[in-house]
Symmetry: C2
Subunit: 410 residues, 2 copies
């Protein structure tokens, strides 16, 4: 076991070398909160050491954000600054890499009116539409990693003394991203191979539909004719590999937009826009959401699916065994980056172009014609449990077990 300091160095190295896989003379854009300043500095140092041309840090401050959400005029939330669009699009066109470090408290905006969150999410979703399309077609390298803020850590470890909460969350994160191993970069190579074996199996099967059953869930998802499963490492437009999420334990593909029928129940709380949504059930008919009920945050969930037409359809189907390392930790992170990698999940909203064979080269119309959903939003939610079975249904109607009791059945 390495020291904490060494593990932090390992993690920063992983983020730079495996996450965005920075290339000589490349720009790097980092989105991070002032809460994780010390960790950002380590990453910046490693990025320049790896040859970065310039590292732009787009700092946010959670307290400044919350003051805005609580006090600014209501009509200001529909605005999104044009220079922030230009910043991302111009950097993307220059082949920059993008790193997001999530640290925000899952319920930062818990007392904020839902309409403000809806307007802000919609405004940024529409403004960054082109940037997101490029991202979802793997045009550039991007990665999402995490670091603890005090508020987030207090939610994950409420039973610990305050002084031990952040260190405990650091340890959980460092373990989840394999930064506690002797050779983390090598570990990630092996992990990448393991996930690709699952990907290859599922692609060889080419299931027509998946059928999910679990308490509160009976859902059939049809897959597009050209669907392709992905997992772990991706390849950008310049041919460089990158890891879009760290950790990542999932293999995933796109659903057929109009091919989702039945009902699905959430199995973990979902932090969305700084509020927590929990105990929810969603009903689908021909792909479209026809009913939702939530034990907590129903107004936020209702506002979320009204972002645009595509926000009422699914864009991602992801498989994660219930005994994944993150799930085995027994922790509820209240953060999708971790919780989605401990559980089968789906995403409301836009689908990834790379989940269609040839999709990276298709325009928006072709992607739609081939069954992919488009939206300004993309929100993962967790549905997996130890009681979930999934059958793969071949084109001829044959059923094969894919998951049994929450784990791979093959």
């Amino acid at each position: 076991m390495n020291t904490f300091e060494q593990q932090l160095q390992n993690y920063a190295e992983l983020a730079v070398k495996v996450g965005v896989n920075i290339q000589p003379n490349q720009y790097l854009f980092i989105s991070a909160s002032t809460d994780v300043r010390d960790f950002v500095r380590i990453i910046v140092e490693k990025a320049y050491a790896a040859g970065a041309r310039q590292v732009f840090v787009d700092w946010s401050d959670d307290v400044v954000s919350r003051i805005r959400y609580e006090q600014a005029p209501a009509d200001s939330f529909s605005e999104f600054p044009s220079w922030k669009i230009a910043e991302r699009e111009q950097l993307a066109e220059k082949g920059a890499a993008f790193m997001s470090i999530v640290s925000q408290s899952p319920d930062l905006f818990k007392n904020v009116e839902a309409s403000r969150i809806r307007d802000a999410q919609k405004a940024s979703g529409q403004a960054l539409d082109r940037y997101r399309q490029m991202m979802q077609a793997d045009k550039f390298s991007w990665t999402v990693i995490a670091a603890p803020s005090a508020d987030w850590a207090s939610l994950v470890f409420p039973e610990l003394p305050v002084s031990e909460q952040v260190p405990a969350l650091w340890n959980a994160i460092l373990k989840a991203v394999r930064a506690n191993t002797a050779n983390p970069v090598e570990e990630w190579k092996l992990h990448d191979q393991t996930l690709h074996e699952k990907v290859d199996y599922l692609n060889s099967k080419h299931y027509h539909k998946l059928h999910y059953t679990a308490p509160g869930t009976d859902l059939t998802i049809e897959l597009p004719e050209l669907h392709t499963w992905c997992g772990a490492g991706s390849v950008n437009a310049d041919g460089a590999t990158f890891m879009a999420n760290m950790p990542t334990e999932e293999v995933f593909t796109a659903p057929l937009k109009t091919g989702v029928n039945g009902v699905v129940s959430s199995t973990k709380p979902l932090s969305y826009g700084g509020t927590i949504i929990d105990d929810f059930k969603i009903t689908f008919k021909d792909g479209q959401i026809t009913d939702i009920t939530a034990g907590q945050g129903q107004d936020v969930l209702e506002n979320m699916i009204q972002a645009d037409e595509g926000a009422k359809y699914l864009g991602e189907v992801a498989l994660v065994p219930h005994e994944s390392p993150i799930s085995a930790s027994g922790l509820l992170f209240y953060n999708t980056l971790f919780d989605e990698n401990a559980s089968n999940h789906l995403a409301i909203g836009s689908a990834y172009a790379f989940n269609l064979d040839g999709g990276k080269e298709m325009d928006r119309k072709e992607l739609e014609q081939n069954g992919l959903n488009q939206s300004i939003t993309h929100v993962d939610f967790m549905i997996g449990s130890g009681e979930m079975d999934i059958d793969g249904i071949l084109a001829d109607g044959t059923k094969e077990p894919v998951f049994r009791n929450g784990s791979w059945a093959f």
Copy 2:
């Protein structure tokens, strides 16, 4: 005497109400370091309470900046991102207010190659040319204030234990900006009046030239026919008042670009681009710098005056009595915002349009025709001391005392 917390609140209130004088539904753009996060949060809270529409905080991080200056490729320093130009220009056009909070260590970049600092200053100077022109014509409200970083405080109070340095610098700043008084906003009104009495006297005299004498200094500065003295409060294009510097103890005008002759010696160190320049002497002939010598930082000074043609001429003449409150504190701040308000000073580079009668409405060519210098740079440097005499010379050659032994002579 108020408590420290109350004084911080006073200072934030002054910055918002007197500094930028925020108006309902106005945007506010704050440039600040992560080192002063807590103080920024107080200002943001007060800005929204005063009706701000949205507060954009442009965070910088001194360590991230230093890593870049030390490690990034040399040719990257000539670049300036176009979206950062758009950000300022678009906000300025929307009538936003701009607040800079200086906190950077005066020698943050002490080991960085001078050419990197020169290239970066030149790139930002050229890129923000239009923004700076708008600023120097009072098109929008802007203010420069200060808050301590640990590194800056250690330079000002090297004799104190580390734990007392930041509090000591806070106290010095809070005193300098009158935040320690019972009614700071009212104090600033009185201060504004006092400075305007000096302004009115000098404008009524309409001196043709100023003649400076002090040890190492014998300098004559001709003033433009249309010159006008200013001090303390300004008025923006919408008619709202603002205070461009807090503290401010100076009254100032523009020199005639080609009317400066003789030699002048610095009396305080100058922090420029994160390096310290000290013990320097500058010789002028018909406005142009013909010789410079510096005991420290000569290479940085030489690079500075090569930014463009205007960087070899003066753009500001400012008078501050040697017994000003900041000077009386006996502290050397190594920060121009304070040190310039403890000392007569001049500025190399561009002149303010508002220092010409009718100048705010003149275009660049008219400003030049009326004797104003233009440049991408504007750097104040301190020349005042208790041994400085200044004569005002009327158009008919009559001499009148303006300063004697470093203090007002009228």
